[in-house]
C-alpha cells in the first residue's frame, strides 16, 4: 500500500464532496439542527403525561389529590365522569385515569382502607411504568400529609435519599443530544462511503482507477479515511458547539477520548458502507439495505432503550454491532467522566469489530472489482 496514493485518492473524495452543495447542506443539518431538535423534543423524563381524574368523592382529600397533579410531570388533569373515562382512554386522550371512589375520605378516616383505582394505558409503554410510580407517590404523599394534619400519624423514620449521579436532574436532552450525534455519525458514514462507491460504479470511474497502479486496498482505505475524517470533524464541532455550547450539556469526560472512540466507530461503519455497496447491485437496493441496517443499529444499540431490557439473543447479536460499544463508550466518557482505564474494553471491541468489517469489506470489494 502506498500512502501517497491513499492520500491523493482521499483528497479526491473530499474535493468531490465539496462539489455537491446539497450533500453539504444535509451534513450540516444532521450535525446541528437535527441534534438540537432531537435533544429538545424529548420530554424531560415524565413530561406532560395526560391524566384524567374521576372524582366521585369530592372531599378535601380528593381535591388535594386533584390539585397535586401539575405540570411539568403531568398535564392539568381533566376532571371527568365515570362514563367518559372509557371513551377518552379508547381515543388515546388520557394515559392515566385515576378513579377516587365515593366516600373515600370517610372510609380513609374510618380506617376502612378504601381503594383508589388507577387505569393505565399500557400501550404507551414508556409512560406506563414510570408514570404509574409517580401517580402512586403523589397520591400516597397527599394522603399521608392529609392524615398527618388530621391526626398526627407517625411518619416513616427511615428515609431513602435518592440522588442521580452524572445527570442530577435527569435531563433527557443531554442523553438525547449524544444519541443524535451517534445516529448522525453512523448514518452519514454509511451513506457517504456506500452511495459514493455505487455512484462511482454507475459512472464507470471505478474501472478507470483499476488500469492505474492503484490497489483495491488503497482505494478502500482512501474512502475510509476521507469520509471518516469529514464525519469526525463534523462530530467534533458538533460536540463542542452544538452539544456543549448551544444545548449547554455538561460534559464530564475527555472529548478527545470520545473522538478516539468515534474514529474507531467510523472505521467500522465506513467499512460497513463499502460492504453494503458491494452487496447492492444498484442504488435502490442499496437504499433498502441501508434502511435495514440503520434501523436496528438505531433502536437496538442501547441508545433508545436500555440494553438490559432486551432479550438475551438480541443483546448477544447486538454485541457484534459497533454502535452498541460506541453508545456504552460515549455514555461512560461524556457523562460519567470515565477515562481510558474504564472504557478500554469498548475501544478494543470497536477496534476488533472495525478490523473484521474492514477485512470482510475488502474481500468483497476485491471480488466486486474483479
Amino acid at each position: 500500500m502506498r500512502f501517497d496514493n491513499v492520500f491523493q485518492l482521499g483528497v479526491k473524495e473530499l474535493r468531490g464532496l465539496v462539489r455537491d452543495p446539497m450533500l453539504l447542506v444535509l451534513i450540516v443539518y444532521s450535525f446541528t439542527l437535527a441534534i438540537y431538535a432531537g435533544a429538545k423534543a424529548l420530554p424531560e423524563t415524565l413530561n406532560r403525561a395526560a391524566i384524567a381524574i374521576v372524582d366521585e368523592d369530592r372531599s378535601p382529600v380528593s381535591s388535594r389529590i386533584d390539585l397535586a397533579f401539575t405540570p411539568p410531570y403531568f398535564s392539568e388533569p381533566h376532571l371527568i365522569s365515570q362514563y367518559e373515562m372509557d371513551r377518552r382512554m379508547d381515543a388515546g386522550l388520557d394515559t392515566f385515569a385515576l378513579n377516587i371512589p365515593p366516600d373515600f375520605q370517610r372510609d380513609l378516616l374510618a380506617r376502612k382502607s378504601p381503594t383508589i383505582q388507577l387505569n393505565i394505558d399500557a400501550t404507551r409503554i414508556s409512560q406506563a411504568f414510570n408514570g404509574g410510580g409517580y401517580v402512586e407517590q403523589i397520591v400516597s404523599a397527599e394522603v399521608a400529609e392529609f392524615l398527618a394534619r388530621t391526626r398526627n400519624a407517625q411518619t416513616a423514620p427511615i428515609e431513602l435519599t435518592l440522588r442521580a449521579r452524572f445527570n442530577p436532574e435527569l435531563k433527557k436532552a443531554w442523553f438525547g443530544a449524544i444519541d443524535e450525534v451517534i445516529t448522525s455519525i453512523t448514518m452519514l458514514s454509511i451513506i457517504l462511503t456506500g452511495a459514493a462507491l455505487i455512484r462511482e460504479r454507475e459512472h464507470g470511474t471505478i474501472e478507470h482507477l483499476l488500469v492505474m497502479p492503484v490497489t483495491p486496498l488503497e482505494i478502500m482505505v482512501s474512502k475510509v479515511w476521507s469520509m471518516g475524517l469529514v464525519v469526525l470533524a463534523a462530530s467534533a464541532l458538533s460536540i463542542v458547539f452544538v452539544v456543549k455550547g448551544w444545548l449547554a450539556v455538561t460534559i464530564d469526560g475527555s472529548v478527545a477520548l470520545f473522538l478516539l472512540g468515534a474514529a474507531l466507530q467510523l472505521f467500522a461503519t465506513t467499512s460497513m458502507g463499502i460492504f453494503l455497496a458491494t452487496v447492492a447491485g444498484s442504488m435502490p437496493q442499496f437504499g433498502l439495505l441501508l434502511m435495514m441496517t440503520l434501523l436496528p443499529l438505531q433502536t437496538l444499540s442501547g441508545s433508545m432503550t436500555p440494553r438490559e431490557s432486551m432479550p438475551q439473543f438480541v443483546q448477544d447479536i447486538m454485541l457484534a454491532a459497533p454502535n452498541t460499544h460506541f453508545v456504552m463508550l460515549a455514555q461512560a466518557i461524556l457523562f460519567r467522566g470515565a477515562g481510558l482505564e474504564a472504557v478500554w474494553p469498548q475501544l478494543l471491541a470497536l477496534a476488533v469489530i472495525g478490523s473484521a468489517f474492514f477485512a470482510i469489506a475488502l474481500r468483497r470489494f476485491r471480488t466486486f472489482l474483479a
Binding site: 380513609l108 409503554i125 431513602l160 451513506i191
Partner: protein, 923 residues
Amino acid sequence: MSTTAAAEAPAAVGSVVHLEGVGLSYGKTRALESITLDLPSGCMVGIIGPDGVGKSSLLALIAGARAIQEGRIHVLGGDMASARHRRNVCPDIAYMPQGLGKNLYPTLSVFENIDFFGRLFGHGKAERHRRIAGLLRDTGLTPFADRPAAKLSGGMKQKVGLCCALIHDPELLILDEPTTGVDPLSRRQFWELISAIRSSRPGMSVIVSTAYMEEAAQFDFLIAMNAGRVLATGTPAELKRQTGADTLDEAFIRLLPEADRSSHSDVVIPPRGPDHDEIAIEADHLTRRFNDFVAVDDVSFRIRKGEIFGFLGSNGCGKTTTMKMLTGLLPVSEGTARLFGKTIDAGDMSVRRRIGYMSQGFSLYSELTVVQNLDLHARLFELPADTIAARVDEMIARFDLADIADALPDALPLGLRQRLSLAVAMIHAPDILILDEPTSGVDPVARDRFWQILAELSRKDNVTIFVSTHFMNEAERCDRISLMHAGKVLTSDSPAAIVGAHSTATLEQAFIACLEEAIADTAEPAGEPATASPPASASPTPARRRSAGFNPTRMLAYSRRETLELRRDPIRATLAILGSVLLLFVLGYGISMDVENLSFAVLDRDDTAISRDYSLQIAGSRYFTEKPPISDYADLDRRMRAGEIGLAIELPPGFGRDVSRGRHVEIGAWVDGANPTRAETLRSYAQAIHANWLAQKGRELYGEAAIAGSYQLEVRYRYNPDVISVVAMAPGIIPLLLVLIPAVLAALAVVREKELGSIVNFYVTPVTRLEFLLGTQLPYVVLAFANFLLLVGFALTVFGVPFTGSFATYALAALLYVTATTGMGLVISAFMKSQIAALFGTVLITLIPAIQYSGLIDPVSSLQGLGAAIGRLYPTTYFVTISRGAFSKGLGFDTLHNDLLALAVMVPILVIAGAMLLKKQAR
C-alpha cells in the same frame, strides 16, 4: 394527419419550425445566441457543427424538452412557450435524445419498451400490437422482441428508440445524433429505414443532428452551427457552392471562423520507419466467456511497437472485452495476453504503468477540474513530485487545454472531454495506448486534431496505439486493422490490402461486405436489412387524441412500466418484503420497555441482620441483580463510572440499631443518570421496594395497626394487561416499517430516471405531471400494502398479538398511510437531483421523525418544541394511534375516524407537492 385545431392555421407557410432570437445559457455558459431560423416542412433537415455548439440544446428546445429562456419558438404552428400548445402538439412530435438508448428502460424488453410508448399515446391493445408488429418487422427487430434493451447492441438500441418515436405517427421527428457510436452496417440500415418511412409518409418532417458529414450530404437542408450561432443554411450543394469546396467536410471547415480553422490541418501520418521487430501487444487464442455467452472467441493478433492498430466491428462484437483483457481489467478465460512478452497479471502494477487506457464512456472525475484530474493521475502514476507540475503543463500545452484548465469536465463538450481523457491516459508517458472508441461523438475538426496527436505519438515517441473506431476515414489511417464480428476476428491486414481483397471501392464497402458474409455464414438475423415495404405504421386509424386533462391510460402505462421494472429486479421486492418481516421480528423483541436485571450493589457500613435484610429485599426483586458489595467510596465511584452498577445503596453505620429504636435513619442511594429513562425506572423501583420494606418492617415492629388508616391503590393496565412489550411494540413497529421502506423505494424512482436520462420521455410525451407521479406511485402502494398484510399476519401468528378492533378500518388506514409514505418518497424524488442526495434526504425525513416523534416510544402529546410540531404533522403519528387502537383497544371507524381523516388529507397534499416540485421541462 389531423392536428389539433389550435395548430392548424399557419401550417401552410411551409415551415415546420420557426425560431426567432432564441438564446440559452447554462449558468454562465452561453449555449445558444440569438438563433433565427425557419425549417422547411416535409424535409430532412440536418444540423451539423462541432461538439458543444448547441445542437442538442436547440433540438431539445424544439422538442419542448427544455424550457425556453429567450426568444420565440413556433413548432407546428404554435408557440412552444405555451404549455397548452405543447400539450396539444406533443403527440405530433417525436424526439430521440442523444446517447445510445438513453430514453429506453434497460430491464424492459424491446416489445415492452415500444408498448410503453404506445400506451402513453393512448392506443388500444389491438392497435398497439398491430403497430409494434409492423415496426419490429420493418426494423428487423422481430426476433429480438423479448430481449431486454440493456442487452442490445448500440445499433439495435437506436432502432428500438426509433420504433418508440414512430409509434404515434409524428408529424415531426427529431433525432439527436442517432448514429453516433453505431457501426457502419447498422448505420446504413438505420438510414434505409428512415428513408423507407419517409417515402411512406411524405408529410413528415425530420430534423437530425449528426457528426457524420457523409450522412449530412444526403439531407435536403442543412444548418451549419458553431459556438451557439448559425453559420450558414441551405442544401448540401448550396453549402458546397458557397464555400467552393468539393466535399461537405471541407465546406464545413471553410465555414468556420478563421480562428477555429487555423488550427486545422489535414492529418498526415508519415510512413513507419524501419520495422521494429519488438512485439508490444500479443493476443494468443484469447477467449472470454460470460456464463455461457462467448464474448471473445479465440482471438489472436500481434501488434508491433510503434504501430497504430485499428479495431473495427459492429456494436457488441467483443472489441471492448478484448481491450479490457489486454489492460488486465478482465481476467482471461482461455489463451494468453502478453505485453512486451510478459503475460498480463491483473495485480502487476509495473504493467499498469506502461499502459494508458481510455475507456468508451467518459470516466474521469467530473468533480475535479481539468488540472486536478491531470495532477491526480500524475501522482497516482508515481511521477517524481518535482516533475509533476512541468508534466501537467506540458500535457495542457500539447492537448491545448489551457483555456479550460480550471473548468469541470461536465461543462465541456464531448470533443474536449475526449481530449482530456487522452491527456490523462498519456500523463505518465506510457509505451502502449489502448483507446476504446475515443472519437465517438466527436466532430470532424476535433477528430482530425486528435489523430494528429496520435500520429505524433506513434511516429515520434514510438508509442504503440491500439484503437477502436467506427469511422472509416480513421480506420484508413491505421497501419493495420482487424475486423471483428460476434467475438471473432474476421480479417486482419493493412486497410489497403483489405479493400484489395474484397475488390471494393472503399473500406466501408469492404467492411460491410465482410460483415454480411459473416452474418450469412452464421445465419444470425441481427443484420437483417430493413425491408423496403412501406412501414405499417401509416395506419388508417390515427392515434387517439386524448391529451387534455387527466388520462388514466397514461397513468397506468407508467404503473405498468414501473411494475415491470420492479419484477425484473426481484432482489428489490424481496428485500423490501422479507427485510421488513425480519425487522419486525428483531425490533418487536428488541425494543422493550420491560426493565429487568438492573444492576445494583450495596455499601453496607453496618453489616447487621437488619441491614442485610434490606439488601436482600432488593436482591429478591425480579428487577434487580446484585453485584459484589462495594468496599468504599472510591470503589463506588469507579464502578459507577464504568457503568457496572446502576444503583448504589449506602447503609450507614448503626443502621440496624437506629431502625430498631425508631430513630431517624437516612439511606443514601445513587442512581446512574447517564441514561435518564433507565434512571427514572431505577428510581421508582427503588422507592417502591423501600416502601415495601418499610411496610413490612412496620408490621413487624408495630403490628397491623401501623398500616391501617391508609388506602389501597389498585392499578389496572388496560389494553395490555400483562404489560408485554411485544404486544405494545408490534402495532407500533408496523407503522415504522411502512414508512421507511416504501419511502426509500419511491424516493429513488423519479430521481433515478433523472440521473439515467429516461426522464426525457416524461418531458416530450403527453403525460401530465400528475399522471406521471401517480402512475409511478401506484406499484409501490400495492407493494407496500401487500407488505402491510404480511406484517399483520406475522404479528398475529408469530408474535401472537391479539387483534381486537375493526380490520376493515385498519386496512383502509393502512392504504391511506402507505399512499402518504410513498408520496413522501416521491416528493423527495421530484425535488432532488442526485440519487445520493435523495437517499440521504429520505433517511433524514423518515428515520428520525418516525422513531422519535411519532409516539412510538414517547407519546406525541408529551413532546415539545420542533419535535412536537413534526410529530403532529407526521403521518406515522396517526397511523400509530390507529394501529394500537385496532390491535389492542378494539376500536373501529367511529373512534378512529379523526386519525383516518388526517391521513386522508395528507395524501392529496403530498401528491400536489410532488407535482409542483416536478418540472415538465428541463431547465
